[in-house]
Symmetry: C2
Subunit: 332 residues, 2 copies
Protein backbone atom coordinates (compact mmCIF):
# COMPACT_ATOMS: atom_id res chain seq x y z
CA UNK A 1 0.00 0.00 0.00
CA UNK A 2 1.38 3.40 -1.02
CA UNK A 3 -0.45 6.19 0.72
CA UNK A 4 0.22 9.49 2.44
CA UNK A 5 -0.64 8.28 5.93
CA UNK A 6 1.03 7.91 9.29
CA UNK A 7 -0.70 5.29 11.43
CA UNK A 8 -3.72 4.15 9.37
CA UNK A 9 -5.78 4.26 12.56
CA UNK A 10 -5.27 8.05 12.70
CA UNK A 11 -6.00 8.91 9.07
CA UNK A 12 -9.46 10.43 9.55
CA UNK A 13 -8.43 12.57 12.52
CA UNK A 14 -5.26 13.70 10.77
CA UNK A 15 -7.15 14.58 7.62
CA UNK A 16 -9.56 16.62 9.76
CA UNK A 17 -6.61 18.45 11.29
CA UNK A 18 -5.60 19.29 7.73
CA UNK A 19 -9.12 20.54 6.97
CA UNK A 20 -8.91 22.76 10.05
CA UNK A 21 -5.55 24.17 8.94
CA UNK A 22 -6.70 24.76 5.36
CA UNK A 23 -10.12 26.28 6.02
CA UNK A 24 -10.23 28.92 8.74
CA UNK A 25 -13.87 29.61 7.85
CA UNK A 26 -14.76 26.14 9.13
CA UNK A 27 -14.56 24.94 12.70
CA UNK A 28 -13.34 21.38 13.24
CA UNK A 29 -14.15 19.61 16.48
CA UNK A 30 -11.37 17.03 16.61
CA UNK A 31 -12.64 15.46 19.84
CA UNK A 32 -16.22 14.87 18.68
CA UNK A 33 -15.04 14.53 15.06
CA UNK A 34 -17.25 16.90 13.11
CA UNK A 35 -16.84 19.93 10.85
CA UNK A 36 -19.11 22.94 11.22
CA UNK A 37 -19.51 26.42 9.75
CA UNK A 38 -17.59 28.88 11.87
CA UNK A 39 -20.73 31.00 12.28
CA UNK A 40 -22.93 28.14 13.55
CA UNK A 41 -25.44 28.05 15.07
CA UNK A 42 -27.39 30.67 13.12
CA UNK A 43 -30.48 31.71 14.99
CA UNK A 44 -33.68 30.96 13.11
CA UNK A 45 -31.95 29.06 10.30
CA UNK A 46 -32.71 25.40 9.68
CA UNK A 47 -29.51 23.45 10.17
CA UNK A 48 -28.35 20.92 7.59
CA UNK A 49 -26.19 18.04 8.80
CA UNK A 50 -24.83 15.13 6.82
CA UNK A 51 -22.19 12.53 7.37
CA UNK A 52 -21.09 9.04 6.55
CA UNK A 53 -17.99 6.98 6.29
CA UNK A 54 -14.79 8.75 5.28
CA UNK A 55 -13.13 7.94 1.98
CA UNK A 56 -15.64 9.78 -0.23
CA UNK A 57 -14.06 13.24 0.00
CA UNK A 58 -14.93 16.00 -0.68
CA UNK A 59 -18.27 14.52 0.48
CA UNK A 60 -19.30 15.47 3.20
CA UNK A 61 -16.91 17.79 5.06
CA UNK A 62 -15.96 19.49 1.81
CA UNK A 63 -19.54 20.64 1.40
CA UNK A 64 -19.81 22.52 4.69
CA UNK A 65 -20.28 26.25 4.34
CA UNK A 66 -22.75 28.98 3.46
CA UNK A 67 -25.37 27.74 1.02
CA UNK A 68 -24.80 24.05 1.69
CA UNK A 69 -24.21 22.00 4.86
CA UNK A 70 -23.97 23.48 8.33
CA UNK A 71 -22.05 20.47 9.60
CA UNK A 72 -20.66 17.12 8.54
CA UNK A 73 -19.78 14.06 10.62
CA UNK A 74 -17.10 11.92 9.04
CA UNK A 75 -17.01 8.36 10.32
CA UNK A 76 -13.92 6.21 10.11
CA UNK A 77 -13.08 5.04 6.58
CA UNK A 78 -16.16 3.37 5.04
CA UNK A 79 -17.75 3.31 8.52
CA UNK A 80 -20.83 5.18 9.73
CA UNK A 81 -20.44 8.08 12.14
CA UNK A 82 -21.64 7.23 15.65
CA UNK A 83 -24.82 8.64 17.22
CA UNK A 84 -23.01 10.81 19.78
CA UNK A 85 -20.97 12.40 17.02
CA UNK A 86 -24.08 13.15 14.96
CA UNK A 87 -25.84 14.48 18.05
CA UNK A 88 -22.94 16.82 18.84
CA UNK A 89 -22.97 18.18 15.28
CA UNK A 90 -26.74 18.56 15.38
CA UNK A 91 -26.58 20.54 18.61
CA UNK A 92 -23.76 22.68 17.22
CA UNK A 93 -25.92 23.86 14.30
CA UNK A 94 -29.32 24.04 15.98
CA UNK A 95 -30.54 27.61 15.73
CA UNK A 96 -34.02 26.85 17.02
CA UNK A 97 -35.61 26.18 13.62
CA UNK A 98 -34.86 22.48 13.52
CA UNK A 99 -32.23 20.38 11.78
CA UNK A 100 -32.36 18.27 8.62
CA UNK A 101 -30.24 15.13 8.49
CA UNK A 102 -29.16 14.12 5.00
CA UNK A 103 -28.46 10.38 5.19
CA UNK A 104 -27.16 8.11 2.48
CA UNK A 105 -29.07 4.85 2.50
CA UNK A 106 -26.63 2.45 4.15
CA UNK A 107 -27.79 0.35 7.08
CA UNK A 108 -25.28 1.71 9.58
CA UNK A 109 -25.81 5.34 8.59
CA UNK A 110 -29.59 5.00 8.74
CA UNK A 111 -29.47 3.39 12.18
CA UNK A 112 -26.99 5.82 13.70
CA UNK A 113 -28.66 8.93 12.31
CA UNK A 114 -32.00 7.64 13.61
CA UNK A 115 -30.56 7.13 17.09
CA UNK A 116 -29.04 10.61 16.97
CA UNK A 117 -32.35 12.06 15.83
CA UNK A 118 -34.09 10.46 18.78
CA UNK A 119 -31.47 11.79 21.19
CA UNK A 120 -31.79 15.25 19.64
CA UNK A 121 -35.58 15.11 19.90
CA UNK A 122 -35.17 14.27 23.59
CA UNK A 123 -33.27 17.56 23.88
CA UNK A 124 -36.06 19.44 22.14
CA UNK A 125 -34.51 19.73 18.67
CA UNK A 126 -36.89 19.04 15.80
CA UNK A 127 -35.31 16.71 13.25
CA UNK A 128 -36.31 15.79 9.71
CA UNK A 129 -34.42 13.12 7.84
CA UNK A 130 -33.83 13.06 4.08
CA UNK A 131 -32.79 9.63 2.91
CA UNK A 132 -30.75 9.52 -0.30
CA UNK A 133 -31.09 6.35 -2.39
CA UNK A 134 -30.34 7.34 -5.96
CA UNK A 135 -28.16 4.47 -7.16
CA UNK A 136 -30.28 2.47 -9.58
CA UNK A 137 -27.70 -0.27 -10.12
CA UNK A 138 -29.03 -2.78 -7.57
CA UNK A 139 -32.08 -2.98 -5.36
CA UNK A 140 -30.31 -4.28 -2.24
CA UNK A 141 -26.58 -4.32 -1.69
CA UNK A 142 -23.86 -5.36 0.74
CA UNK A 143 -24.68 -2.73 3.35
CA UNK A 144 -28.07 -1.68 2.09
CA UNK A 145 -31.73 -2.54 2.28
CA UNK A 146 -33.00 -0.77 -0.82
CA UNK A 147 -31.01 1.37 -3.21
CA UNK A 148 -27.66 2.89 -2.23
CA UNK A 149 -27.12 6.61 -1.78
CA UNK A 150 -24.37 8.08 -3.96
CA UNK A 151 -23.93 11.10 -6.25
CA UNK A 152 -27.35 12.65 -5.66
CA UNK A 153 -26.23 13.42 -2.12
CA UNK A 154 -24.32 16.39 -3.49
CA UNK A 155 -27.44 17.69 -5.24
CA UNK A 156 -29.60 17.20 -2.16
CA UNK A 157 -27.08 19.01 0.02
CA UNK A 158 -26.68 21.89 -2.45
CA UNK A 159 -30.33 22.48 -3.17
CA UNK A 160 -31.68 21.93 0.34
CA UNK A 161 -28.76 24.00 1.64
CA UNK A 162 -29.72 26.90 -0.61
CA UNK A 163 -33.32 26.81 0.60
CA UNK A 164 -32.21 26.64 4.24
CA UNK A 165 -29.91 29.61 3.64
CA UNK A 166 -32.94 31.62 2.45
CA UNK A 167 -34.64 31.01 5.79
CA UNK A 168 -37.21 28.43 4.69
CA UNK A 169 -38.89 26.38 7.42
CA UNK A 170 -37.86 22.85 8.39
CA UNK A 171 -40.61 21.03 6.50
CA UNK A 172 -39.83 22.86 3.25
CA UNK A 173 -36.10 22.22 3.46
CA UNK A 174 -36.70 18.53 4.05
CA UNK A 175 -39.29 18.40 1.29
CA UNK A 176 -37.02 19.89 -1.34
CA UNK A 177 -34.26 17.49 -0.32
CA UNK A 178 -36.58 14.52 -0.69
CA UNK A 179 -37.79 15.84 -4.01
CA UNK A 180 -34.24 16.12 -5.39
CA UNK A 181 -33.56 12.55 -4.33
CA UNK A 182 -36.75 11.32 -6.02
CA UNK A 183 -35.83 13.13 -9.23
CA UNK A 184 -32.27 11.72 -9.29
CA UNK A 185 -30.71 8.52 -10.53
CA UNK A 186 -27.09 7.39 -10.47
CA UNK A 187 -25.02 4.54 -11.88
CA UNK A 188 -21.29 3.84 -11.48
CA UNK A 189 -18.59 1.74 -13.08
CA UNK A 190 -15.24 0.73 -11.61
CA UNK A 191 -12.03 0.08 -13.51
CA UNK A 192 -10.10 -0.83 -10.36
CA UNK A 193 -10.80 -1.62 -6.73
CA UNK A 194 -9.91 0.79 -3.93
CA UNK A 195 -7.64 0.19 -0.96
CA UNK A 196 -8.52 1.35 2.55
CA UNK A 197 -5.56 2.45 4.68
CA UNK A 198 -6.50 -0.11 7.34
CA UNK A 199 -6.72 -3.08 4.97
CA UNK A 200 -3.71 -2.12 2.89
CA UNK A 201 -4.86 -4.12 -0.11
CA UNK A 202 -7.64 -3.77 -2.72
CA UNK A 203 -11.13 -4.46 -1.38
CA UNK A 204 -11.98 -6.83 -4.20
CA UNK A 205 -10.35 -8.51 -7.17
CA UNK A 206 -10.94 -7.12 -10.64
CA UNK A 207 -9.01 -8.71 -13.51
CA UNK A 208 -6.93 -6.44 -15.77
CA UNK A 209 -9.42 -6.72 -18.61
CA UNK A 210 -12.67 -6.42 -16.67
CA UNK A 211 -14.84 -3.66 -15.20
CA UNK A 212 -17.46 -3.72 -12.45
CA UNK A 213 -20.71 -2.34 -13.86
CA UNK A 214 -22.99 -0.79 -11.26
CA UNK A 215 -20.34 -0.72 -8.53
CA UNK A 216 -21.06 0.87 -5.12
CA UNK A 217 -18.96 3.63 -3.59
CA UNK A 218 -17.31 1.16 -1.22
CA UNK A 219 -16.62 -1.32 -3.99
CA UNK A 220 -19.86 -3.25 -3.44
CA UNK A 221 -20.67 -5.56 -6.33
CA UNK A 222 -22.77 -4.12 -9.13
CA UNK A 223 -24.88 -5.76 -11.79
CA UNK A 224 -22.20 -7.57 -13.71
CA UNK A 225 -18.56 -7.97 -14.56
CA UNK A 226 -17.88 -7.09 -18.15
CA UNK A 227 -14.88 -6.88 -20.42
CA UNK A 228 -13.11 -3.53 -20.60
CA UNK A 229 -14.39 -1.64 -23.64
CA UNK A 230 -14.12 1.78 -25.31
CA UNK A 231 -15.38 4.87 -23.47
CA UNK A 232 -18.40 5.27 -25.72
CA UNK A 233 -19.63 1.78 -24.85
CA UNK A 234 -19.05 2.32 -21.13
CA UNK A 235 -20.96 5.60 -21.43
CA UNK A 236 -23.92 3.61 -22.74
CA UNK A 237 -23.59 1.11 -19.89
CA UNK A 238 -24.00 3.88 -17.29
CA UNK A 239 -26.52 6.05 -19.15
CA UNK A 240 -29.06 3.47 -20.25
CA UNK A 241 -29.99 2.19 -16.75
CA UNK A 242 -30.63 5.78 -15.69
CA UNK A 243 -32.85 6.51 -18.67
CA UNK A 244 -34.70 3.28 -17.93
CA UNK A 245 -35.15 4.00 -14.23
CA UNK A 246 -35.98 7.69 -14.50
CA UNK A 247 -38.78 8.75 -16.84
CA UNK A 248 -37.42 11.91 -18.46
CA UNK A 249 -39.76 13.80 -20.78
CA UNK A 250 -38.40 15.01 -24.10
CA UNK A 251 -36.77 18.41 -23.65
CA UNK A 252 -36.86 18.17 -19.86
CA UNK A 253 -33.94 19.95 -18.19
CA UNK A 254 -31.53 18.00 -16.00
CA UNK A 255 -28.43 18.56 -13.91
CA UNK A 256 -25.71 16.08 -14.86
CA UNK A 257 -22.88 15.06 -12.57
CA UNK A 258 -20.02 13.09 -14.13
CA UNK A 259 -18.13 12.13 -11.04
CA UNK A 260 -14.68 10.60 -10.67
CA UNK A 261 -14.26 7.89 -8.07
CA UNK A 262 -10.81 9.06 -7.03
CA UNK A 263 -8.04 7.89 -9.35
CA UNK A 264 -9.48 8.75 -12.74
CA UNK A 265 -7.83 11.63 -14.61
CA UNK A 266 -10.07 14.61 -15.36
CA UNK A 267 -9.23 14.19 -19.05
CA UNK A 268 -11.01 10.82 -19.03
CA UNK A 269 -13.99 12.23 -17.16
CA UNK A 270 -14.37 14.82 -19.93
CA UNK A 271 -14.18 12.09 -22.56
CA UNK A 272 -17.01 10.36 -20.69
CA UNK A 273 -18.98 13.59 -20.35
CA UNK A 274 -18.79 14.11 -24.10
CA UNK A 275 -20.06 10.61 -24.79
CA UNK A 276 -22.82 10.85 -22.18
CA UNK A 277 -23.93 14.27 -23.42
CA UNK A 278 -24.33 12.78 -26.88
CA UNK A 279 -26.44 9.92 -25.53
CA UNK A 280 -28.62 12.24 -23.45
CA UNK A 281 -29.08 14.55 -26.39
CA UNK A 282 -30.15 11.63 -28.56
CA UNK A 283 -32.71 10.76 -25.86
CA UNK A 284 -34.09 14.29 -25.95
CA UNK A 285 -32.73 15.20 -22.53
CA UNK A 286 -31.57 18.81 -22.07
CA UNK A 287 -28.46 19.34 -19.93
CA UNK A 288 -29.25 22.54 -18.03
CA UNK A 289 -26.26 22.40 -15.68
CA UNK A 290 -23.34 20.06 -15.21
CA UNK A 291 -20.43 19.20 -12.98
CA UNK A 292 -17.38 17.19 -14.00
CA UNK A 293 -14.86 16.16 -11.37
CA UNK A 294 -14.24 14.25 -8.16
CA UNK A 295 -17.12 14.91 -5.76
CA UNK A 296 -18.26 11.59 -4.30
CA UNK A 297 -15.21 9.38 -4.37
CA UNK A 298 -14.17 5.90 -3.30
CA UNK A 299 -10.63 6.49 -2.07
CA UNK A 300 -8.27 5.54 -4.90
CA UNK A 301 -10.77 3.67 -7.07
CA UNK A 302 -10.45 4.29 -10.81
CA UNK A 303 -13.94 4.69 -12.16
CA UNK A 304 -16.79 7.12 -12.56
CA UNK A 305 -20.42 7.61 -11.79
CA UNK A 306 -23.19 9.41 -13.60
CA UNK A 307 -25.95 11.21 -11.74
CA UNK A 308 -28.89 12.76 -13.56
CA UNK A 309 -31.41 14.94 -11.71
CA UNK A 310 -34.56 16.25 -13.35
CA UNK A 311 -35.11 19.88 -12.46
CA UNK A 312 -37.57 22.73 -12.81
CA UNK A 313 -36.95 26.47 -12.62
CA UNK A 314 -37.14 26.51 -8.83
CA UNK A 315 -34.60 23.69 -8.41
CA UNK A 316 -32.30 25.38 -10.93
CA UNK A 317 -32.61 28.66 -9.04
CA UNK A 318 -31.57 26.90 -5.84
CA UNK A 319 -28.74 25.10 -7.65
CA UNK A 320 -27.45 28.42 -8.97
CA UNK A 321 -27.67 30.15 -5.58
CA UNK A 322 -24.33 31.19 -4.05
CA UNK A 323 -22.36 28.50 -2.25
CA UNK A 324 -19.04 28.68 -0.48
CA UNK A 325 -17.52 25.38 0.59
CA UNK A 326 -14.11 23.79 0.04
CA UNK A 327 -15.55 21.40 -2.57
CA UNK A 328 -18.21 23.48 -4.31
CA UNK A 329 -18.14 27.21 -4.66
CA UNK A 330 -19.72 29.90 -6.78
CA UNK A 331 -21.37 33.28 -6.45
CA UNK A 332 -19.33 34.20 -3.37
CA UNK B 1 -4.21 -0.16 -19.29
CA UNK B 2 -7.65 0.62 -17.88
CA UNK B 3 -8.86 4.01 -19.00
CA UNK B 4 -11.99 5.73 -20.23
CA UNK B 5 -10.77 6.24 -23.79
CA UNK B 6 -11.77 5.23 -27.27
CA UNK B 7 -8.82 5.35 -29.67
CA UNK B 8 -5.90 6.70 -27.58
CA UNK B 9 -4.98 8.90 -30.55
CA UNK B 10 -8.28 10.79 -30.13
CA UNK B 11 -8.24 11.31 -26.36
CA UNK B 12 -7.32 15.01 -26.34
CA UNK B 13 -9.87 15.97 -29.00
CA UNK B 14 -12.57 13.88 -27.35
CA UNK B 15 -11.84 15.41 -23.95
CA UNK B 16 -12.12 18.85 -25.56
CA UNK B 17 -15.49 17.87 -27.00
CA UNK B 18 -16.50 17.02 -23.44
CA UNK B 19 -15.25 20.41 -22.23
CA UNK B 20 -17.36 22.07 -24.91
CA UNK B 21 -20.45 20.12 -23.87
CA UNK B 22 -19.93 20.79 -20.17
CA UNK B 23 -19.05 24.50 -20.31
CA UNK B 24 -21.28 26.60 -22.58
CA UNK B 25 -19.50 29.73 -21.31
CA UNK B 26 -16.33 28.55 -23.05
CA UNK B 27 -15.81 28.22 -26.77
CA UNK B 28 -13.81 25.23 -27.96
CA UNK B 29 -12.17 25.30 -31.36
CA UNK B 30 -11.86 21.59 -32.10
CA UNK B 31 -10.09 22.15 -35.42
CA UNK B 32 -7.34 24.43 -34.10
CA UNK B 33 -7.51 22.73 -30.68
CA UNK B 34 -7.87 25.58 -28.23
CA UNK B 35 -10.32 26.73 -25.56
CA UNK B 36 -11.31 30.36 -25.27
CA UNK B 37 -13.67 32.53 -23.24
CA UNK B 38 -16.94 32.86 -25.10
CA UNK B 39 -16.69 36.66 -24.93
CA UNK B 40 -13.19 36.85 -26.45
CA UNK B 41 -11.69 39.03 -27.76
CA UNK B 42 -12.41 41.81 -25.28
CA UNK B 43 -11.46 45.16 -26.72
CA UNK B 44 -8.76 46.92 -24.75
CA UNK B 45 -8.11 43.97 -22.41
CA UNK B 46 -4.74 42.26 -22.31
CA UNK B 47 -5.22 38.65 -23.36
CA UNK B 48 -3.75 35.83 -21.29
CA UNK B 49 -2.91 32.59 -23.11
CA UNK B 50 -1.32 29.47 -21.74
CA UNK B 51 -0.96 25.92 -22.87
CA UNK B 52 1.16 22.84 -22.71
CA UNK B 53 0.89 19.12 -23.01
CA UNK B 54 -2.39 17.51 -21.99
CA UNK B 55 -2.53 15.21 -18.98
CA UNK B 56 -2.25 17.93 -16.34
CA UNK B 57 -5.95 18.81 -16.13
CA UNK B 58 -7.53 21.04 -14.97
CA UNK B 59 -4.39 22.95 -16.08
CA UNK B 60 -4.71 24.76 -18.53
CA UNK B 61 -8.14 24.59 -20.19
CA UNK B 62 -9.82 24.33 -16.79
CA UNK B 63 -8.47 27.78 -15.92
CA UNK B 64 -10.04 29.63 -18.85
CA UNK B 65 -12.65 32.18 -17.88
CA UNK B 66 -13.20 35.62 -16.39
CA UNK B 67 -10.41 36.55 -13.99
CA UNK B 68 -7.93 33.98 -15.27
CA UNK B 69 -6.93 32.79 -18.76
CA UNK B 70 -8.52 34.05 -21.96
CA UNK B 71 -7.43 30.94 -23.84
CA UNK B 72 -5.58 27.66 -23.43
CA UNK B 73 -3.90 25.47 -26.03
CA UNK B 74 -3.73 21.83 -25.01
CA UNK B 75 -1.11 19.82 -26.84
CA UNK B 76 -1.30 16.08 -27.21
CA UNK B 77 -0.63 14.15 -23.99
CA UNK B 78 2.69 15.32 -22.49
CA UNK B 79 3.46 17.08 -25.80
CA UNK B 80 3.79 20.80 -26.46
CA UNK B 81 1.09 22.62 -28.40
CA UNK B 82 2.23 23.61 -31.89
CA UNK B 83 2.96 27.20 -32.97
CA UNK B 84 -0.06 27.50 -35.30
CA UNK B 85 -2.34 26.42 -32.49
CA UNK B 86 -0.85 28.98 -30.11
CA UNK B 87 -1.05 31.65 -32.80
CA UNK B 88 -4.72 30.90 -33.44
CA UNK B 89 -5.50 31.18 -29.72
CA UNK B 90 -3.48 34.37 -29.47
CA UNK B 91 -5.38 35.96 -32.35
CA UNK B 92 -8.69 34.82 -30.86
CA UNK B 93 -8.06 36.76 -27.63
CA UNK B 94 -6.23 39.79 -28.99
CA UNK B 95 -8.27 42.85 -28.10
CA UNK B 96 -5.62 45.31 -29.20
CA UNK B 97 -3.86 45.63 -25.85
CA UNK B 98 -1.40 42.81 -26.37
CA UNK B 99 -1.25 39.21 -25.21
CA UNK B 100 0.72 37.54 -22.41
CA UNK B 101 1.89 33.98 -22.96
CA UNK B 102 2.28 31.96 -19.77
CA UNK B 103 4.77 29.21 -20.59
CA UNK B 104 5.96 26.39 -18.38
CA UNK B 105 9.69 25.93 -18.77
CA UNK B 106 9.94 22.84 -20.95
CA UNK B 107 12.08 22.96 -24.07
CA UNK B 108 9.26 22.20 -26.51
CA UNK B 109 6.83 24.63 -24.92
CA UNK B 110 9.41 27.42 -24.84
CA UNK B 111 10.34 26.90 -28.48
CA UNK B 112 6.78 26.66 -29.79
CA UNK B 113 5.48 29.61 -27.80
CA UNK B 114 8.45 31.65 -29.02
CA UNK B 115 7.68 30.77 -32.64
CA UNK B 116 4.03 31.64 -32.10
CA UNK B 117 5.04 34.95 -30.49
CA UNK B 118 7.14 35.83 -33.52
CA UNK B 119 4.29 34.94 -35.87
CA UNK B 120 1.89 37.03 -33.78
CA UNK B 121 4.33 39.96 -33.78
CA UNK B 122 4.43 39.70 -37.56
CA UNK B 123 0.68 40.24 -37.49
CA UNK B 124 1.04 43.27 -35.26
CA UNK B 125 0.15 41.68 -31.92
CA UNK B 126 2.35 42.70 -29.00
CA UNK B 127 3.41 39.65 -26.98
CA UNK B 128 5.01 39.32 -23.57
CA UNK B 129 6.10 35.93 -22.29
CA UNK B 130 6.05 34.85 -18.65
CA UNK B 131 8.19 31.78 -18.13
CA UNK B 132 7.27 29.61 -15.14
CA UNK B 133 10.13 27.65 -13.56
CA UNK B 134 9.16 27.09 -9.94
CA UNK B 135 10.16 23.46 -9.38
CA UNK B 136 13.22 23.56 -7.15
CA UNK B 137 13.84 19.80 -7.25
CA UNK B 138 16.42 19.73 -10.04
CA UNK B 139 18.29 22.37 -12.01
CA UNK B 140 17.96 20.67 -15.43
CA UNK B 141 15.67 17.80 -16.28
CA UNK B 142 14.62 15.44 -19.03
CA UNK B 143 12.86 18.08 -21.12
CA UNK B 144 14.23 21.17 -19.47
CA UNK B 145 17.12 23.55 -19.48
CA UNK B 146 16.75 25.12 -16.07
CA UNK B 147 14.04 24.45 -13.54
CA UNK B 148 10.71 22.90 -14.51
CA UNK B 149 7.44 24.79 -14.43
CA UNK B 150 4.75 23.17 -12.26
CA UNK B 151 2.29 24.28 -9.57
CA UNK B 152 3.14 27.98 -9.63
CA UNK B 153 1.58 28.12 -13.09
CA UNK B 154 -1.84 28.19 -11.40
CA UNK B 155 -0.79 31.14 -9.24
CA UNK B 156 0.69 33.04 -12.19
CA UNK B 157 -2.45 32.49 -14.24
CA UNK B 158 -4.77 33.50 -11.40
CA UNK B 159 -2.92 36.62 -10.30
CA UNK B 160 -1.93 37.90 -13.74
CA UNK B 161 -5.45 37.06 -14.91
CA UNK B 162 -6.95 39.20 -12.17
CA UNK B 163 -4.76 42.15 -13.09
CA UNK B 164 -5.59 41.77 -16.80
CA UNK B 165 -9.29 41.66 -15.91
CA UNK B 166 -8.91 45.04 -14.19
CA UNK B 167 -7.64 46.55 -17.43
CA UNK B 168 -3.95 46.83 -16.56
CA UNK B 169 -1.51 47.34 -19.45
CA UNK B 170 0.54 44.57 -21.04
CA UNK B 171 3.80 45.33 -19.24
CA UNK B 172 2.13 45.30 -15.83
CA UNK B 173 0.32 42.02 -16.42
CA UNK B 174 3.55 40.38 -17.55
CA UNK B 175 5.47 41.90 -14.64
CA UNK B 176 3.09 40.59 -11.98
CA UNK B 177 3.18 37.15 -13.59
CA UNK B 178 6.98 37.12 -13.50
CA UNK B 179 6.94 38.34 -9.93
CA UNK B 180 4.64 35.50 -8.82
CA UNK B 181 6.95 33.01 -10.48
CA UNK B 182 9.99 34.50 -8.76
CA UNK B 183 8.26 34.34 -5.38
CA UNK B 184 7.20 30.71 -5.83
CA UNK B 185 8.83 27.37 -5.23
CA UNK B 186 7.48 23.85 -5.75
CA UNK B 187 8.53 20.31 -4.97
CA UNK B 188 6.77 17.02 -5.77
CA UNK B 189 6.86 13.40 -4.72
CA UNK B 190 5.47 10.39 -6.60
CA UNK B 191 4.16 7.18 -5.07
CA UNK B 192 3.44 5.62 -8.46
CA UNK B 193 4.21 6.28 -12.11
CA UNK B 194 1.55 7.47 -14.55
CA UNK B 195 0.39 5.78 -17.74
CA UNK B 196 -0.23 7.71 -20.94
CA UNK B 197 -3.08 6.39 -23.11
CA UNK B 198 -0.70 6.01 -26.06
CA UNK B 199 1.96 4.02 -24.16
CA UNK B 200 -0.50 1.91 -22.20
CA UNK B 201 2.00 1.15 -19.46
CA UNK B 202 3.64 3.13 -16.63
CA UNK B 203 6.23 5.66 -17.78
CA UNK B 204 8.82 4.47 -15.31
CA UNK B 205 9.37 1.70 -12.79
CA UNK B 206 8.90 2.46 -9.11
CA UNK B 207 9.19 -0.46 -6.68
CA UNK B 208 6.32 -1.09 -4.26
CA UNK B 209 8.28 0.26 -1.30
CA UNK B 210 9.91 3.30 -2.94
CA UNK B 211 8.95 6.87 -3.78
CA UNK B 212 10.41 9.34 -6.29
CA UNK B 213 11.43 12.48 -4.43
CA UNK B 214 11.42 15.60 -6.59
CA UNK B 215 9.51 14.01 -9.46
CA UNK B 216 8.45 16.05 -12.49
CA UNK B 217 4.88 16.30 -13.75
CA UNK B 218 5.62 13.90 -16.59
CA UNK B 219 7.35 11.44 -14.31
CA UNK B 220 10.80 12.91 -14.90
CA UNK B 221 13.36 11.72 -12.35
CA UNK B 222 13.74 13.77 -9.20
CA UNK B 223 16.52 14.03 -6.68
CA UNK B 224 16.43 10.54 -5.29
CA UNK B 225 14.57 7.29 -4.79
CA UNK B 226 13.74 6.74 -1.18
CA UNK B 227 11.91 4.16 0.86
CA UNK B 228 8.21 4.74 1.44
CA UNK B 229 7.75 6.40 4.82
CA UNK B 230 5.04 7.98 6.99
CA UNK B 231 3.24 11.11 5.75
CA UNK B 232 4.96 13.37 8.27
CA UNK B 233 8.40 12.37 6.96
CA UNK B 234 7.32 12.81 3.34
CA UNK B 235 5.96 16.24 4.29
CA UNK B 236 9.43 17.16 5.51
CA UNK B 237 10.96 15.84 2.28
CA UNK B 238 8.85 18.24 0.19
CA UNK B 239 8.84 21.23 2.55
CA UNK B 240 12.52 21.50 3.42
CA UNK B 241 13.83 22.01 -0.14
CA UNK B 242 11.33 24.84 -0.57
CA UNK B 243 12.35 26.55 2.64
CA UNK B 244 15.97 26.16 1.55
CA UNK B 245 15.40 27.54 -1.94
CA UNK B 246 13.04 30.36 -1.03
CA UNK B 247 14.11 32.83 1.64
CA UNK B 248 10.91 33.41 3.63
CA UNK B 249 11.04 36.01 6.37
CA UNK B 250 9.52 35.15 9.74
CA UNK B 251 5.82 36.00 9.70
CA UNK B 252 5.78 36.53 5.94
CA UNK B 253 2.44 35.56 4.36
CA UNK B 254 2.32 32.85 1.70
CA UNK B 255 -0.18 31.07 -0.49
CA UNK B 256 0.15 27.30 -0.16
CA UNK B 257 -0.98 24.83 -2.79
CA UNK B 258 -1.07 21.16 -1.79
CA UNK B 259 -1.73 19.58 -5.13
CA UNK B 260 -2.68 16.02 -5.99
CA UNK B 261 -1.00 14.48 -9.02
CA UNK B 262 -4.14 12.63 -10.13
CA UNK B 263 -4.74 9.41 -8.24
CA UNK B 264 -4.26 10.51 -4.65
CA UNK B 265 -7.39 10.66 -2.48
CA UNK B 266 -8.29 14.07 -1.11
CA UNK B 267 -8.19 12.58 2.39
CA UNK B 268 -4.46 11.95 1.98
CA UNK B 269 -3.87 15.44 0.60
CA UNK B 270 -5.45 16.85 3.76
CA UNK B 271 -3.22 14.65 5.90
CA UNK B 272 -0.27 16.12 4.00
CA UNK B 273 -1.61 19.66 4.33
CA UNK B 274 -1.86 19.23 8.09
CA UNK B 275 1.73 18.02 8.31
CA UNK B 276 3.04 20.74 5.99
CA UNK B 277 1.13 23.46 7.85
CA UNK B 278 2.82 22.33 11.06
CA UNK B 279 6.26 22.50 9.43
CA UNK B 280 5.62 25.92 7.91
CA UNK B 281 4.31 27.20 11.21
CA UNK B 282 7.44 25.95 12.96
CA UNK B 283 9.49 27.86 10.38
CA UNK B 284 7.57 31.06 11.11
CA UNK B 285 5.75 31.07 7.78
CA UNK B 286 2.17 32.41 7.82
CA UNK B 287 -0.32 30.63 5.54
CA UNK B 288 -2.49 33.46 4.25
CA UNK B 289 -4.41 31.41 1.67
CA UNK B 290 -4.40 27.78 0.63
CA UNK B 291 -5.69 25.34 -1.93
CA UNK B 292 -5.91 21.57 -1.47
CA UNK B 293 -6.87 19.38 -4.41
CA UNK B 294 -6.00 18.27 -7.93
CA UNK B 295 -4.94 21.32 -9.96
CA UNK B 296 -1.74 20.43 -11.84
CA UNK B 297 -1.87 16.70 -12.35
CA UNK B 298 0.13 13.97 -14.05
CA UNK B 299 -2.62 11.74 -15.42
CA UNK B 300 -3.11 8.87 -12.95
CA UNK B 301 0.05 9.37 -10.93
CA UNK B 302 -0.33 8.91 -7.19
CA UNK B 303 1.61 11.66 -5.52
CA UNK B 304 1.49 15.28 -4.51
CA UNK B 305 3.29 18.55 -4.92
CA UNK B 306 3.72 21.52 -2.65
CA UNK B 307 3.88 25.06 -3.98
CA UNK B 308 4.60 28.01 -1.72
CA UNK B 309 4.30 31.57 -3.00
CA UNK B 310 5.36 34.59 -0.92
CA UNK B 311 2.78 37.33 -1.20
CA UNK B 312 2.09 40.92 -0.21
CA UNK B 313 -1.25 42.72 0.14
CA UNK B 314 -1.45 43.47 -3.58
CA UNK B 315 -0.83 39.86 -4.62
CA UNK B 316 -3.38 38.69 -2.05
CA UNK B 317 -5.91 41.19 -3.37
CA UNK B 318 -5.42 39.83 -6.89
CA UNK B 319 -5.60 36.24 -5.61
CA UNK B 320 -8.90 37.02 -3.88
CA UNK B 321 -10.39 38.76 -6.94
CA UNK B 322 -13.37 37.01 -8.52
CA UNK B 323 -12.63 34.13 -10.88
CA UNK B 324 -14.95 31.91 -12.84
CA UNK B 325 -13.37 28.92 -14.54
CA UNK B 326 -14.17 25.19 -14.51
CA UNK B 327 -11.24 24.46 -12.21
CA UNK B 328 -11.08 27.53 -9.96
CA UNK B 329 -14.02 29.67 -9.03
CA UNK B 330 -15.00 32.18 -6.40
CA UNK B 331 -16.66 35.54 -6.07
CA UNK B 332 -18.86 35.00 -9.12
Amino acid sequence: MKKFVNDPADVVREALAGVAAAHPDLRVDLAEQFVVRADAPRTGKVGLVSGGGSGHEPLHAGFVGPGMLDAACPGEVFTSPVPDQILAATKAVDGGAGVVHVVKNYTGDVMNFQLAAELAADEGIRIETVLVDDDVAVEDSTWTAGRRGTGATLLVEKIAGALAEEGAPLADVAAVGRRVNELSASFAVALTACTTPAAGRPGFELPDDEIEVGVGIHGEPGRSRQKLRPAKEIAALVTEPILTAEPIASGEPVIVLVNGLGATPLMELYVMFGEIARLLDAAGVRIARSLVGDYVTSLDMAGMSLTVCRVDDELLRLWDAPVRTPGLRWGM
